[in-house]
Amino acid sequence: MSVKHTLAPFSAWLQAFSKPFTLPDRHGYREGADRYRGWHINDTKTCIGCGSCAEICQNVAIDMVPVDDPVTGDSGLRPRVDYGRCCWCALCVDVCPSGSLGMSNEYIWVEADADAFRYIPGVDPKPWDSAEKGWRQEEGFDLVDHQRVPMPMLDPAERTRTWAEVVVGYSREEARREASRCVECGLCVAACPAHMHIPDYIAAIRDGDDIAALNIIYDNNAMPEMCGKVCTRRCEGVCSIGVQGEPLAIRWLKRYVTEQFDDLSDVVHAEVERVGEGKKIAIVGGGPSGVTVAYYLAIRGFDVTIYEALPQLGGATFFGIPKYRFPMPSLEKQVKLLTDSGVTIVTNHRVEKDEMRQLLRDHDAVFIGTGLMKPYGLRAPGEDLPGVMYALDMLRDHHIGKTIDVGKKVVVVGGGNVAIDASRVSLRLGAEVTIAYRRRKVDMPADEEEIEDAEAEGIKIVTQAIPLRVEQADGGRLDFIWGPAEMIQEEEGRRPRPKLIEGVENHMIVDRVIVAIGQGAEHSWMPEEIAEKIADKRGWITVDENGMTAYDGIFAGGDLVNSTADAISAIADGLRAVVGIQKYVGVLPASEDEGDEPVAIAT
């Protein structure tokens, strides 16, 4: 025990005369650090309710609960955090696809009641709702992949010289990589009119099980290859990854799966009971809705016959969609599956009034899916001049193999998908094409992607151009005269209407004027007593929640019914009718839902 070692410890008394370490505030409260992980905050306006936070939370601390005032277009759910589970790892914040979730730097919460530590950030008001500081998402650390695997496409210059498909399609590797971006939120399922099981088949693709993926797809889509190529893909519009990055290429993934198999009959095995043996169903119109009804009833053992006026099934997807988007073999593949499933197909056969009456007598139910086949006229002076043609007619003639002469220069009137298709077909037939559209480019009903492709291929788009009249010009050509329009917004939320600016007339000398302004129903084949009951003034047909019209035993679907003019809605109508028909013929209890397989329709 040396003197040094006895005396040295007494230097500790120096501390008694210096400042204590104790924090001065009586309650020891300090503001949390700038990126402290404290209580959750959520911007409910930008939150889309995708549930990725709940998915990544390893403690199951986050539940998605319905809130009173959801913003339209999301799931209507918001995360509720249970601080009896949370571990403040902030993975939920980092994964949040919309970037709405954050954490404040507040950290004191004391309660006597264990059940009080549960709240919906942003909905239940809390003192820290407006906290500026705290843990937020940061560039450079993403738990989800925001970048889409690029889709290989033909070069625009290349495309116009050939009818080959523009989109090349993913390879297996690319598809698996793209599929692994999915966060499985399921917002797409709600957005898809047919409520396809999108996350499920994407998961199957990711796991490399293409057969399973195809079967999941066939759960509620009988024309998936068509959808994989030309769907309007509302699913991608709501995709949660798309909020901060590029949405998942759901359509291309579906396309990838369907392209993997040359003969679907070997692969698709629907596991359903054949409840419909002995029941006969007639389907008028072989478009997507009709095909859907036919397929799902046929696999249930119904005796199904499709009557189609054109030489091929497919309806608008056959005669309307050009082959560089939807090649013939793809369609034939799907029709073959239909045949293999036992559907009788009668093509080149137009049902007329008496036959329709006969069909009703012979069958347990009849489904009408004739679509909107009659183009609306231009109704401008000169519309009956030779050289003015209708896009629908032209596309149909082209697809059934007729030769079409479009001359050197073409103007297409209209801005829908039909107009774009007609333009691109004309382009490939060797013409120089201009699109004249009454409204602005943003108002065009055609797919944005289509418009971009068309422009890339060299199609000019003239907007706010109101066709006034068509006159005969020299050399058998036509003088297309149009006036400029101004856009007026009459009601909030509706698309603005064009209004002619009088006094100005523009001329365009062309060989052909192709009209694609719109199309309506054509019911001349329908017996009056039926039309009287089911059709409204515009020719549209109203159906109930089972897809049945006001006429007992007649079901309807497709463009006739839903007016959205896209294939997936038609398929959804078909699915609804499948359930409805089964209930109608008594093989399915009327009150109960069928369950989720294979026809799942959310009410």
């Binding site: 009454r438 009459e490 209407r497 064009p498 209004k499 694609a516 302004i517 309506g520 059709a535 020719g539």
Partner: protein
């Protein structure tokens, strides 16, 4: 034609509405398609409604014509005239109705110009406005549903 009073004018207008109704009712019997028959009957009913409105104004139950601005899409200005046929389609039906309303509107505008009495002119202006409103109804229908892709 001479109009002495507001009453006269309204009586005239009521007659006009009645005529329109009769015409639509007549057409409803002539077209082939049942759904368009319904459409014409609907239009006829609409004209009856207009007539009832004018009668109420005449009886003083309604204050008069509102002065709200109505947008003129001018669709009827450059589109073709339509002759009613039994096989006409919905596009033509709307177009026909639109043109009919435009004609009525033009009539009141013309009458208004020919009238010296400022008060009566006001009434004609109001009636023209009414017809413009009806026309606008059809024009929006045309714009929205017929020219869907354009």
């Amino acid at each position: 034609m001479e109009f002495q009073s507001v009453r006269d004018i309204l009586d005239f207008a009521i007659t006009k509405e009645q005529e329109a109704h009769d015409m639509y009712a007549d057409l409803a019997g002539k077209v082939e398609r049942p759904e368009l028959q319904k459409t014409f009957r609907e239009f006829a009913q609409m004209e009856l409604g207009h007539r009832a409105r004018l009668e109420k104004i005449k009886a003083g139950e309604l204050p008069g014509f509102t002065d709200e601005a109505v947008e003129n899409l001018k669709l009827s200005d450059f589109l073709l005239d339509v002759t009613p046929r039994p096989s006409m389609g919905y596009q033509d039906v709307i177009l026909f109705a639109m043109k009919a309303e435009k004609r009525a509107h033009d009539l009141y505008v013309g009458l208004g110009k020919a009238t010296q009495d400022a008060r009566l002119r006001q009434v004609f202006k109001g009636l023209a406005q009414e017809e413009l409103k009806h026309k606008h109804f059809f024009e929006t229908e045309y714009d929205e549903f017929i020219l869907e892709g354009n």
